[in-house]
């Protein structure tokens, strides 16, 4: 920056400040020097293509370059992660795991167009010999015409349930995500597609769209409902699409809402030829509520789904097993439902510290299309009740330490004690 420019900047700074309060002349000179240094740094950075600035920041707050990066034309990084330790009661086995580390790049192209993305690494190491996964959790563009109307397109989260869209560890209770929103609603559930969303009046938010769907020919684990048929934007078979819709009402301390997702999943046998011409319609819906009052957090959710032609999907797994003995045949899920209620109470809150013990009761019921002729029966563990007692201890609003005990009524081998550490930024 030229000296004359600095002079003008100094003059302008003083001219714009008719009332100098509090600071001494020395302090003001120090502040101005700091501001000049920042301006120099900004001038160096401006060798890159010019970025628009917020029309408000410079004028109102002397925010030198923050807005140039965030309000228009900038890219920022967000992320979250969690570490967990679990010790199983029956076996005595224990594991410690970096469950996930997620980072996302968000970019603003202009006043209305933005990109949102998240890249997830699970279980610390991704290699041929390890169990980790690297995946794109979200990558979608949003065109904001107004608060009421946003268009989105790409790989985005389906607005069913509470956790699927808001799943950063400091935002939920328990070391692990609850089982209903894992085995019934396959969180983190995302599809490729396009949608329209927005807020239409005080607190009422809608979200509707068309997306890819599950592929029932890819089902391989009936204990998690539809989850194992997910495609997650990876060369997704898209002969059959789905539509979804969600409506939520939010006020301070209150959330009431629900969503529905429906579409065929047969994909004309692209993954299993025995499903050619089979519709295998999948429909899932949920209703949920949160209420917070006087330190008490209450939450409840009910979700249910059906998978049509489940007997034919079971038969298709038998056919796949006959063609390749390495493929396991099983009784496909034909209906799935689950519900939970949860209560937490903030017993201690001081500064950033916040301690809240919680209890949660969950019920899961996945019905399978049995084939006795081929010895394919209902898995008894698909009817489960889970009690969780634990505590969240926020050491910062974005950093939480968690501990809990889970007790399973049917599959007692899953009884465990867990410790966790979660963060978001």
């Amino acid at each position: 920056m030229k000296k004359s420019s600095l002079g003008v900047a100094l003059a302008a700074a003083f001219a714009a400040a008719p009332a100098f309060a509090q600071a001494t002349v020395d302090q003001k000179l120090q502040i101005l020097q700091q501001e000049i240094d920042d301006l120099k740094a900004q001038a160096r950075r401006s060798a890159a293509p010019a970025q628009q600035t917020s029309p408000y920041s410079l004028d109102y707050s002397s925010m030198l370059d923050r807005s140039s990066g965030l309000a228009s034309g900038g890219t920022n990084i967000v992320g979250y992660g969690e570490v967990g330790y679990g010790k199983f009661r029956q076996s005595g086995n224990a594991t410690a795991d970096l469950q996930r580390f997620v980072f996302g790049f968000n970019h603003r192209f202009d006043e209305r167009l933005t990109l949102h993305s998240e890249v997830e690494f699970e279980h610390a190491i991704v290699s041929k010999d390890d169990g980790g996964e690297a995946e794109i959790e979200q990558a979608w563009l949003n065109y904001k015409m107004s608060d009421a109307v946003n268009f989105k397109g790409g790989l985005f989260l389906i607005p069913i349930g509470i956790l699927n869209e808001t799943h950063e560890p400091p935002t939920y209770y328990g070391v692990m995500r609850n089982q209903v929103e894992t085995r019934i609603i396959p969180t983190t559930w995302r599809e490729l597609g396009a949608g329209v969303h927005g807020i239409v009046s005080e607190g009422i938010r809608y979200d509707v769209g068309i997306t890819t769907n599950f592929d029932s020919g890819k089902l391989d684990d009936p204990t998690t409902g539809i989850r194992s048929a997910h495609q997650e934007g990876q060369l997704a078979n898209a002969r059959n699409l789905a539509v979804y819709g969600a409506l939520n009402y939010r006020r301070p301390g209150l959330l009431v809402g629900g969503g529905v997702f429906t579409g065929d999943t047969g994909q004309n046998g692209a993954s299993n030829p025995a499903l050619q011409g089979v519709a295998a319609r999948f429909t899932m819906w949920d209703v949920h509520a949160q209420y917070r009052i006087a330190g008490l957090d209450l939450q409840a959710l009910y979700a249910a789904g059906t998978l049509g032609d489940a007997d034919r999907i079971t038969a298709a797994t038998v056919a796949a097993n006959l063609a390749d003995p390495g493929v396991t045949a099983f009784a496909a899920p034909k209906s799935m439902k689950g519900a939970y209620v949860q209560a937490a109470y903030h017993v201690y809150k001081q500064g950033n510290f916040d301690v809240a013990p919680f209890v949660r009761y969950e019920r899961i019921d996945i019905k399978q299309a049995e084939d006795p002729g081929n010895n394919l029966f209902q898995n008894p563990n698909n009817n489960e009740r889970i009690k969780t007692l634990g505590v969240n201890f926020w050491v910062h609003p974005k950093v939480v330490v968690k501990a809990d005990v889970e007790r399973y009524a049917t599959d007692k081998s899953q009884d465990r004690f867990e410790l966790g550490l979660g963060f978001m930024f």
Binding site: D59, S61, R66, A71, N76, T166, V243, P252, G253, G295
Partner: protein, 174 residues
Amino acid sequence: MNWRPRRSLALLMLALGAAAAGWVRGEVYQEPDAFVAEVFGTRPEPKVLWLTKDIQAQAAAILGHPPVQLRQRYWSDAHKSVWILEEIGKEELITAGFVVAEGHIDHVRVLVYRESRGQEVRYPSFLKQFKEAKLAQGDRLDREIDGVAGATLSVGAMERMARLALFFDRMSRQ
């Protein structure tokens, strides 16, 4: 569901119609100049609060990060002051106007909201919680602000700005 171009086209037309209806609403709810003028009747000359090292340190404690501004412009008369502040919600800046009177929040308004989610913080049901709030021990608000599900970070940003406005008001009157 099989792909049906006619149905998709109809849905697209419906969406575009809805978009056209909502086009004018925008994300700038009120120009900051208009907010200041509304508070005082006319727009008075701005004043400047210089952020000395001590003030910067206390502002950093409130925000959880160093303040990016070195001077804060504000408007005031004998009874009240107006502060236009900006803080990041989840990804982007929220611009809000705070009116402070006699050491407590008189009212708050979200002037510009840039993100595609979390706009619930701009509605009166949320903002009315700040009315009469003042600073308590540790420069915290003297009350709990109920959050909005799915807008946790925007709620946090609004709370931090309210604390900062009260703190700046106190500093401006010393």
